[in-house]
Each structure stands twice: as C-alpha cells, then as structure tokens.
C-alpha cells in the first residue's frame, strides 16, 4: 500500500513540478518560443525524469548492508546493473574511439558516423565470435571437467563460499561456470547461425519464387506456409524434436542436425512472408518489366535485378531471425529438448541453476549463478538488435 502511495506522490509531484517548471521558464526567459510553445507533457517529462534520476542516485548510494547485518539486495543488484552498463558503455566508447583513429579512411568514416549503441553491438559480436571460434584458448578448464566442490559462489571470496580457482563459481556437479559459458558460445552460436542461414535459403527462395511467378505457384506455397504458421511454433518444435530423437537413436544421425533443420523449417515461414512481400514490391517496378521484355532468364532476374534491391530488409531480418533462433534454442534447452549434456548450453545452465534466484534476498552472490548465462544470452541479443537498428537507419536514408 505504501508503495502505491509513493508512486502516486511522485506522479503528483511531477504534475505540479512540470506546471511550475514551464511557468518559471516562461517568466525568466521573457516568453521565448521554446518555453512558450512547450506542451505540458514535455514539461512533465523533464520534471519526472529529474525525479527518477534523483531516486536512482539515492538508491545507488544506500549502504550495502542493513543494520541487522542482512545484505541490502536491492542496492547491491542496482549497483551491479549500473556498473555493468557503465562498463559496457565505456568499452563501446573506447572501441569507437580506436576505430576512429585506426584503419583506412573508409573505416574511419564509418566509425565517425556510428552511434554508441552500434559500436557496442559490433564489439560484442566480434568478441563472441572470437570466443566461439577458439573456446579452448579462453576457457580455464575443459567443457566437462568436474571438480570436487559443487555450487561454489562467484567472485572467489573464500569467506563467502567462493574459490579463487573458479572466479564465476561451479555448477551442480562441480563444473567451472566460466569454462561452461565459453564453450556454450560455440555450441549455441553454431547451431543458431546454421539454422538461420538454412531458414533464409528455404524462405528466401520460396518467397521470391512466389513473388515472380504469382498465380497458382504463389497460392500453393503461401497456403502451405499458412498451415505451418497456424501451429504454435514452440509446441510444434517440441513435438518434432521428440519424434526426431527416436530417429536419431535408431539411425545414428546426430540430434544437432535434426535440431537445425526443424528450427530452420519453422522459422523459414517468417522469412518467406518477408521475401514475398519485398519481392512483390520490386517485381512491380518498370526495370523488372524492361528486363523481362529484353528476354532475360529467371536466374538473372533474381540475382542481378531483385536481390541487390532486397538486400537491406533481408540483412535486417537476418539479424532479427538470428536472435529469435537463438532464443528458441535457449528455450528448447531450458525445456530439456535442446542441446544435450555434456555439451554446454546457456539455456540448460539457466535451468539447472534457476533455483538460486530464490536466494537473491539473502545471498546476492549465489543468485548470480543462473544470471550469468541469462546475461550472456541477453547481451548478444541486444547487440545484434543494436547493429540491425543501425543498418536499418543507414539503409533507409537517402542512399537507399
């Protein structure tokens, strides 16, 4: 109840403050157009934002231990969040700074026009790729190496159940979490990339074919896609995977292959929709008609006339699809149908360690165990989205 009252009080303060802010602005600047024509909601936003910043600062500055000796979990987690975001932003800033001063003229120009979010995204993707390509170099221990002590907490402080040898702690059977996180990058990213590329091949070719031929070809493909899309994706994937696990056992085909194909086929329906609508827009152009009347073949039409113009939306969709496929793999693993042990995977790690979230109030360090793999997923998805946003912004400009 008191929380609700607090929220209402803050809002009321912002309403009154916004009104006063605008009034004072008008009086002190002799009615300059900026304050004179300022809508009330804008003034409200300024004041509300100021109050929020103040509240955040107060939360940040509170002591980490309460008087009773219990850790102040809210402040601790808030500080971690602030430090993480500040650290990532600093890394992104330095990366962009380096990019602006090192390299060719072209790459320097690219970095000069780059927003900080995009530089964060690119840096993250590069780091993930390096780690995924050679996990053995970075991981302190092997993927399935088991140590004596399970459930070691992060940060290596022996007083708080930590161990300097396992900086991020160990899991339920004593495997090093940092090493598992690093090996999982390879497993998850490889499957996500393969599935996305396959989805684009299937969906892209079918979509452009439907757009060019139209008529019954279009109807047949589109209706089949509608049927596939009508079944809830996750349930369908679980169903197909359980059927496939039977085949995998009886024919000795690796389960990973089935997983890639199943995810790709289900995701290709979304790619198909995009490819078809983009294709329809381009096929209606006069330059396609001119090429048809010249007598050009289908292959030339697709590769030389249509694809170059469809590239920007395709690239953006590729980034987004990659994120969704990635999340799908994590969800499947979390549900126990994805990547199987002993291979490391972020989704599985979240599931196995999820119980520690309950200790957040009393043992903030322990609660981090499931949050590390979750963070690994979140940061990559965020990074890809930032880069996609940036490409979209660039390609929708006048150059498009």
């Amino acid at each position: 109840m008191s929380n609700l009252l607090f929220v209402i009080a803050v809002l009321a303060a912002a309403v009154v403050g916004g009104y006063l802010f605008r009034l004072i602005g008008q009086k002190t600047t002799q009615n300059r157009p900026y304050f004179r024509d300022m809508p009330f909601l804008v003034a409200f936003g300024y004041v509300f934002g100021a109050i929020l910043i103040f509240l955040c600062a107060r939360l940040y500055l509170q002591p980490t231990t309460l008087e009773s000796g219990v850790p102040n979990a809210v402040t601790i987690f808030f500080r971690w969040t602030v430090h993480l975001i500040a650290g990532l932003a600093l890394a992104a800033f330095l990366f962009r700074l380096a990019g602006r001063n090192i390299g060719t003229d072209g790459s320097k120009r690219l970095f000069r026009q780059m927003p900080i979010t995009a530089s964060f995204g690119i840096l993250t993707i590069i780091l993930y790729c390096i780690v995924a390509l050679m996990p053995e170099v970075f991981a302190p221990y092997g993927e399935a190496e088991v140590f004596a002590k399970s459930y070691v907490y992060p940060f290596g402080d022996p007083a708080a159940n930590g161990d300097p040898a396992h900086i991020l702690g160990t899991d339920e059977i004593g495997r090093d979490i940092l090493s598992r996180l690093i090996f999982a990058t390879k497993n998850t990213m490889f499957i996500a990339l393969a599935a996305t590329i396959l989805a684009f091949l299937i969906g892209g070719i079918a979509g452009l074919a439907a757009a060019i031929f139209g008529g019954w070809v279009d109807s047949v493909i589109s209706r089949s896609v509608d049927v596939l899309m009508a079944i809830p994706a996750l349930i369908f994937q679980l169903l197909l995977l359980s059927i496939a696990s039977f085949w995998a056992n009886s024919y000795g085909i690796p389960m990973v292959l089935f997983m890639i194909v199943i995810i790709a086929v289900i995701d290709s329906t979304r790619v198909f929709r995009l490819a078809r609508s983009v294709g329809l827009g381009i096929v209606a152009m006069d330059y396609i008609e001119a090429a048809k009347l010249r007598g050009e073949r289908l292959g030339y039409l697709i590769t030389r006339e249509i694809l170059p113009n469809a590239m920007p939306p395709f690239l953006v969709e590729f980034g987004l699809r990659f994120c969704f496929v990635f999340l799908t793999i994590a969800s499947l693993s979390f549900l126990g149908m994805g990547i199987q042990p002993p291979s490391a995977d972020w989704g599985t790690m979240v599931r196995k360690l999820a119980d520690f979230i309950k200790f957040a109030q009393f043992l903030p360090n322990a609660a981090l165990l499931p949050l590390f793999p979750a963070l690994a997923i979140a940061i990559l998805v965020l990074a890809v989205n930032f880069v996609v946003d940036w490409i979209l912004d660039k390609s929708s400009g006048l150059k498009g």
């Binding site: 024509d37 152009m285 330059y287 009347l293 010249r294 007598g295 170059p308 113009n309 006048l398």
Partner: protein, 549 residues
C-alpha cells in the same frame, strides 16, 4: 484601394540536409490585398510550395524560416505562438493541396471532414456547416450537391474531390487560400472544370489566394499578378498581362518560349508502303474487364505516331499489347509485315530487340543499385554479345548520343542524376538494343517544361539520324503538337479519330477531339473567360464528355 492583407518581406528559408542547414529560399517579398490572386510559378525545386506554406507561418519538418517577416492582417506569423496560429489556420487561412485523394481521410465522409474546421473554430454548428457545405458544393457545380457530401473520398472522381477540397477550404470563409498545384494531377477536361469553379468561388467571396503551379497557361487564367521563382530566388513580379506580353528577364522569356518548339512537317507516307508496326483489330481485357476494343492503326518507318487520350482510355494498354505483356484476346500485331507472337515469352531475341520501350517514371525504370554503365551495358552485351572494351566503347557512344559526358556519368548511380538525365539514360537503354521502333510512354509528363523540351528535341534528333519510329503516348496536346507526325485519339478503349497531325488540329473534328483540344489552357489570360462565354458552363470539360456518352 483595397485593404492590405498579407505582407511578406525578405523571406528566407533553410532546409536540413544531413546535419547542416542549407538555404532553400533566399529572400522573397510580396504583398497581397484582399481579394487578390497571386500566381507563384517556377520549376520543381524552385521553392514555390515552401514559400506558399511559409505564407501561412508553417514550415515542413526539416525546414525553418531563417529570416524575414510574414505579416497577415497585422499579425506577425513568423513569431506567433502555436495558439495564435491554431486560431488562424483553417479559419482565416486555408490550404488546398495538390493531391486531394491523399489529403482527404479515406475513413470519413466528405461532409464530416468539411464541417470539422468550422465546428472546431466555433464558427458554426455542425448542422449549419453541413447546410453551408451543400451550398458550396452547389456553387462549385458538383453533381447532386445535397447528397455527394455523404460519400466517402474513394466514391467520387479526382476532379470532384479537388472541388470538394476547395469547398472545405472555403468552409470558414477564409481571407486567404493557398492553392498548391490543385489541377496538376488531373486530365485536361477535368482541369478546366476545376479551374472554372475555383476562379468563380474565389471571386464570389472576394478571397485572396496564392496560386502555385508550374503551368503558365493555367496561372494566366487564375492570377491577377504573377511572381516567377528560380531555385529559391525571385526572378520578377508583375501583373499578369504585363508578364505575358512583356517579360523582362531572360529566364522568364525562356519559360515562355518553351511552347514554340515544333518539328518540321515530313512528306506524306507512300501509299502501299509496309508499316513498321501495324496493330490490327486488337481487343484486350484484364481478366473479364474489357479495356480495348478493335483498336487498329499503323506506324510507318521514321514516323512518330502520338496516341492521345485521358487516363483510362487504353493508351498504355495498347503499348502492353504491342510489347506482348498483355496478349490480346482478338487481333494481332504485325512487325515489318510479319505477325508477332502475341505473348512476349514466345518472341525471339531479335523480335524483342526490334521494339523497345521508354517509361514515364525514370525512377522506377532504372534499377537503383546498378551504375549507368551496367544499366546501358547489359542490353549491349545481351543482344550483340560485346564484352570488355568493345562493350565499354559502345556504352560511351550511346552516352554521347544522349548528350551526357561518358567520363563523368558512366560510374554513377541513378540516384545521383537529375530527373531529365535519368530519362536520357532510359532512352540510351532503349537505343542500346539498336531497335527500329520505340514506345515512349508519357516520357515527358513527370518533367519540368524546359527539361521536357530538351528530351523532345533529343528524341527528334535521334529519329532523324537513326531512322527510328516512335509510338508516343501522351495526354499533353502541346507535346503532340511538338513531336508527332500522326495522331490517334482514344477514348474508353476505342480509337475515336486518327490522321496526320495537321488535319487533326484543323476543324472539322470529332466532337471528343474538339473537346480535348478546346480544354487545353492557352497563354491568353482571357482564354477561360472567352471559352465560358462561348460554350456555357455546362458544355466544357467532363460535363460535356459525359453528355456524349
């Protein structure tokens, strides 16, 4: 001496390009008295619309007024607060946009949109303004004025919509209306009706107006005085008659001179000569909707046949039948005396090569991701098999033929060219196939008059040097006069009249041809008045076309 209404002094505007503000309008001044009409003319990019909007104290996103004053009835509009502007716009100053179809909200009935402004400004009640709307519809000579307001925008024609929009602007009886190219998108017979209605109602209510257009003949009918703009600069201003009879500046004179281009007459075609293209009794339909009925005409070697008609008359469909994109139901196409397969997919490479096409919108006709060299080089390679330096030489030769410097343009993308240059690339691509016959589909209608003139002259020169034959689709009779040897008039999918150009422009005409010819505005400022006196309001434009049908 009428009362001063609008005073614009040294108006400068800037636009945001990238991250810097660049000037778009460099100091425009004018005065407007009550009931006076000012015509603003200039080519695209001259800043006409920007000035028109700034006269309302409004700028588009990414534009700003950097200097100068706009004073409307004593109110400083440049520094006026949003509240003051809100009380003026729609009530005392109204705006009529170029495309009425895009400016009406398709989800509401006309009369509801009409009464919005008066109710909002507290001028009248909803029922009063609806009754007034019907009265205005009557005065603007809309058909069935009592009920037309209860239709949705898509249920009335383009010309009617433009008049309904004028009525909407009149709803609060404003002191000033800005007309931004209100008739540019309309057919001539529709345009003439809209012009007559607008002029009438502006006179009746003694409303001042700024009439923005690129068409000199139109502005001559509408305006009391004319101001000419060029790239954001004032060229000159004077009253309409002086401006027409005695323009001072070179630029203005060049605008006036455009309409004088006409190529010399060619000798008559030998009877019995095989036409290069012959359309025989073509009947075609989109699905079950008939669009062409028994269309026949011939195009002889080295000749230009202009196909004229309003939108929807079947001109472009005829072109689609010739190119084979829409195989006719009945009839056939002969090329050099031999019947062509009806479907383009069954034609040989050589048959495809002989007939080329130039499109109306150069923007959609050129692949934006390919360089000029690739766009022109592809047909060269495709048809003649030339590659490497041989192909490059041919492309350079073609660029020279269309009067563009190869070294400068060969590596550019279409987006780096002006509208006229893009259209020239379209011509070069057609020439690259080394054709005998080219279909020009409204090739000049998206261009400014001076640029269009250049394209027409280029096409005429190419015809003389290469012996090409053209089928020239257009709705603009000035273009027909300039370039054609023979004329085919189409209406509702049928050929109404055809013959050599001289005969077509001399009476006696088919009644429809006569109507088309008489609807083309002339530079004479008395033209519309005289025409209305001679024929009466009900015998011009679409009203007369409908009577024929």
């Amino acid at each position: 001496m009428a009362e001063q209404l609008l005073k614009v002094r040294g108006l400068k505007l800037e636009g945001l390009s990238g991250e810097t503000w660049t000037p778009i309008v460099n100091g425009v001044s004018f005065d407007l008295k009550k009931g006076e009409v000012l015509g603003l003319i200039g080519e695209s990019g001259a800043g006409k619309s920007t000035v028109g909007l700034a006269a309302m104290g409004f700028t588009r996103d990414g534009c700003r007024i950097s200097d100068g004053e706009v004073e409307f009835d004593g109110i400083d509009l440049v520094n006026a607060s949003a509240a003051v502007k809100r009380s003026l716009l729609g009530k005392r100053i109204a705006y009529v946009a170029q495309s009425a179809a895009a400016s009406f909200n398709p989800a509401h009935k006309l009369i509801d949109q009409h009464s919005e402004a008066p109710v909002q400004h507290g001028v009248s009640s909803k029922s009063e303004s609806e009754a007034d709307g019907m009265e205005l519809y009557r005065r603007l000579r809309l058909p069935d004025p009592d009920n037309i307001g209860f239709r949705f925008p898509h249920q009335v024609s383009g010309g009617q919509l433009q008049r309904a929009m004028t009525a909407m602007a009149m709803a609060c009886r404003p002191d000033l209306i800005i007309f931004d190219e209100p008739t540019t998108a309309l057919d001539v017979t529709t345009q003439i009706e809209v012009l007559a209605s607008i002029r009438d109602i502006v006179e009746q209510f003694d409303t001042a107006a700024i009439y923005i257009t690129h068409d000199l003949a139109v502005v001559a009918q509408m305006a009391d005085k004319i101001k000419v703009l060029l790239k954001g600069d004032e060229v000159e201003e004077s009253d309409t008659r002086t401006m027409l009879s005695n323009p001072q500046e070179d630029y203005t004179k060049s605008l006036w001179a455009v309409r004088s281009f006409e190529r010399p007459k060619k000798p008559a075609v030998n009877t019995g000569a095989t036409p290069i293209v012959s359309i025989k009794n073509v009947t075609a339909a989109y699905g079950t909707v008939p669009v062409l009925e028994e269309v026949s005409f011939d195009i002889h070697e080295g000749r230009t046949v202009a196909v004229v008609g309003e939108s929807g008359s079947g001109k472009s469909t005829t072109a689609r039948c010739i190119t084979g994109l829409l195989p006719p139901k009945i009839g056939h196409i002969e090329f050099d005396g031999q019947a062509l397969p009806l479907d383009y997919r069954r034609r040989s490479k050589d048959q495809l090569r002989q007939a080329q096409m130039i499109y109306q919108m150069a923007d959609t006709a050129l692949n934006p991701r390919k360089s000029i060299g690739e766009i022109i080089g592809r047909p060269v390679q495709f048809y003649s098999g030339k590659t490497g330096s041989e192909k490059r030489r041919r492309v350079e030769e073609l660029l020279e033929q269309i009067e563009l410097d190869p070294g400068q343009y060969i590596n550019r993308l279409p987006s780096e060219l002006s509208g006229g240059q893009k259209q020239r690339i379209g011509i070069a691509r057609a020439l690259a196939a080394d054709p005998k016959f080219i279909i020009c589909d409204e090739v000049t209608s998206a261009l400014d008059q001076l640029v269009a003139e250049g394209i027409l002259k280029l096409l005429a020169n190419l015809q003389d040097t290469l012996g090409l034959s053209y089928m020239f689709i257009t709705h603009d009779l000035a273009t027909v006069k300039a370039i054609s040897d023979e004329v085919v008039v189409m209406k509702d999918g049928r050929v109404v009249e055809q013959g050599p150009k001289d005969e077509m422009f001399q009476p006696p005409h088919h009644p429809y041809t006569d109507l088309l010819l008489s609807s083309v505005p002339e530079m004479d400022p008395d033209w519309l008045t005289t025409l209305l006196d001679q024929r009466g309001v009900d015998n011009i434009g679409d009203a007369a076309v409908n009577k024929m049908a």
